[in-house]
Amino acid sequence: MLLIYCPYCQIERAEIEFRCGGEAHIARPSDPEKATDDDWVEFLYMRSNTKGIAAERWRHIHGCGRFFNAVRDTVSDEFLKVYKTGEAKPDLEAIAREAGK
């Protein structure tokens, strides 16, 4: 069973308690009035769909209920780093190098 560390509960829990929330660090247009249709398309639908190391939003829905971010290898399903919502996006290349990918 895959165990995922929740940075809020500070404990590893089974994968079934979590839901993936898609790619992380996608900012909503800061001034919606001025955003063009293309901006909205970019925000709503365009995702990088990375094969390899990717930063994703995850939610501990059957635990504390909070969203957090995780760096995951989408090929091996290995979690390389978890961090709280609001923290800066980590250097994915450095994490990949460290993990020997």
Binding site: M1, Y8, C9, Q10, I11, R13, A14, I16, E17, H62, G63, C64, G65, R66
Partner: protein
Amino acid sequence: MSDLPASDLITPDAGEAAILGLASVSILKAAPLTRLSFRAREASLKKAGTAFGVALPVKPLTSTTTAKRAALWMGPDEWTLLAPEEDLQAVAVGIEGKLDGEPHALVDVSDRSDAVIVTGERAAWLLNTGIFVDFSLESFPVGTVTRTLFHKSPVMIWRIGPEAFVVEAWGSFMDYVAGLLVQCAQELEAV
């Protein structure tokens, strides 16, 4: 059960027959309670704790109790507050009065869930038939509280004693949870 924390709070429902009564594990329906879902920012916690009668825990997965009050950590800004059924009004008014003007949410969820009390030397074993959580006393000491999944139903597990757990599930899910617990316990009868 009188030596357990929150013993005046979590009591078996006198009007209900035991759901399960084996030598090694028993399941009793818990009497109705006041349950409040409380969400607030850090600055309001102290005041809320004073008004409620017990400080709100800030350490993840822990609870604080007095004889008639319990505050359970649900998330970094979310707590479940338990009190006797008749204290609903007093508790709600008391906290709202202290937090006037501060952003917070205090919602009465008393009727959302039902609770059963699972006790006995095989209580942890029985819960583990449907929950992927380590219930050893080292990693899940008395007072630990968490939401998790029991088979397919979201539940809240609160350890109130070395061999005593409160299992809370939404009202309409309780038959499923209690039924599966009883079914799983048949394995104990067989040996």
